[in-house]
Amino acid sequence: MPKVIFVALDGSRRTIDGAAGDSVMATAVRNGVPGIVGECGGNRSCATCHVYVDDGFAARVGPPDDLEDDMLDLAVSDRRDTSRLSCQIKLTDDLDGLTVHIPDEQP
C-alpha cells in the first residue's frame, strides 16, 4: 500500500494509504482531500487535479506528456517545473511516500 502525502497551502500534511494502480487524484478525491477536485474523473479534461510534485519525487514521477503539458500551460495559473495533473500519476510501490503540494487554486 503506497502512502501518499498531501501538503496543503498552510503546510498541514495528510497521509493516505493508496492502492498501487490508482491515480493520485482518485486517492485524494475518494478520501475528500480539499483542493483536489478531479472534475473530469481523470480524463485530462479539467486540470482541477493540478499539484506540485515534491522536489524529492519529481524525477521519479517524470514529466507530463504533450497533451497534459498543453493543459497545464493553459489552465493552470501558477505553472511550475514540478506541475502535474495528479490524475496522470499512477501510484506504484516504488512511489511509496510520494509527496505532493496542493496549489492555491484550481481552475
Partner: protein
Amino acid sequence: MTALIVGASQAGVQLATSLRDHGYTAPIVLVGAEAHAPYQRPPLSKQFLSGAADLASLELRTAGFYAERGIDVIRGERVTHVALSGSGRRGAGIALTDGGRAISFDRLALTVGARPRRLDVPGADLEGVCYLRDIDDAARLRAHLTRAQEVVVVGGGFIGLEAAAVARAAGRTVTVVEAAGRLIPRSVAPMVSEFFRQAHTRRGTGVRLGSGVAAIQGWQGRVSGVRLLDGTLLTADLVVVGVGVVPRTELAEQLGLACDGGIVVDEYARTSEPSIVAAGDCTVLPHPLAGGGRVRLESMPNAIAQARVAAATLAGDPRPYTEVPWFWSDQYDLKLQIAGVAHGYDQIVVRGDPGAERFSVLYYRRGQLQAITAVNWPADYLAVRRALAGGTPLAPDRAAASDTP
C-alpha cells in the same frame, strides 16, 4: 432537519458533500437503488469496458469518507413513494423504500438520473442484447464481449461509439447502425459527424447511417443478427443498444412537480415546489447558451455543478448556476472535448486539420461564440471554455487564424 437525497450517484454524492461544505450539520440520508457503493459512470464505456479499470477504482468516495462526513448511505433500496406532509414545515415529508423503510425528512433532493431507452422491436429481449447505464450492465457487456465475434451497435451517439471503439480495439467485427443521417447529430456540427464516421471506418468499424432496426433475430434464445428496416440482415452475436436515456420523473410526478422531458428546475436547482431541489440527468434547466430555452445536460460536470447549486439552495445560501456545459468522449486514440451548447449556430470556424485527426470547430450565433468541439486539441478546447466562462468575445475572423488564441 434531516435532508433526504434520493439517488446515490454523481449528483447525489456531490449534493451530500457540498451540503456539509456549507456547514449543514443535521442528518443527511443518501438512498440509492444500486447495490454498489456510488461510482463514476463515464469509464463504464471506456476504461472499465476495455478491462483497464476495475470496479474498485471507480468508487466516488471511500466508506470512511461518508462516515467521517456523517453521510448515511443506504444502498440497494429504491424509494417507491414520497409525499410532503400536508401540515407542518414546508418541504417536510416522508419517503418509503422497497426495503420497507420509512424515512421522514425536512428537506428533499431528487438526484434520480435517467434510465436507458429500451429498443422496442421484436427480439429485443434476446440473450446478448446489452444496454450500458450502470455497472451491472457494463459487467454483463464486458463478459459478452470476451466471447463475441460480431458486434452490432444500435445508436451512433457517444456511448454507442465508445462501446464500438472498445469492441473494435479488442479485435471484434463491429458495425454501428444509426437511424439519423449522421453520427452524434444533436451535439456536433455535420462536419464533425462526418469526421467521426471516417475515423471509425478507417479503423475498420462499419458505420450505417439512416438505418433503422426492424428486429433482432435469434437462435435458441440468443442473438444471431439484426434485421434493418431496408431488409438487410447483419449477423451478430452481441448487440449493444445506446439509443439515449429517459429521465426518471416518477417521484417528481407523485409530488406534482412540473416535468417537461425531465424535472423542471430553475437556475437555483429549485423545482416547481421551491422547497424541493433536483440535480443531474433527471432535470431540465434554463441556460443562457441555449438561447433562453431549457436544456437537459447529460453529463458528469453538469451533475456536479448543479448538485453544488442545489446544496447551496438547501443550505439557505442560494447561488445561480453559471457553469459552461462541457463534456468529453474517448474513442480509440481520439479525444473529443466539447464546451458550450452547439445549438442554433449560424456560422462555424474550423481550425487545424481533420485529416491529421487534430482540429477544432467553433460555433457562432450572430458573431457570438457559442461552443467548441475539439479533437485531440485540449489547448483550443480550454481556451474557448475559458472565453465562454469569462464572457470574453472571440471574433470568428480572429479564431480562423491558426496562430490565435
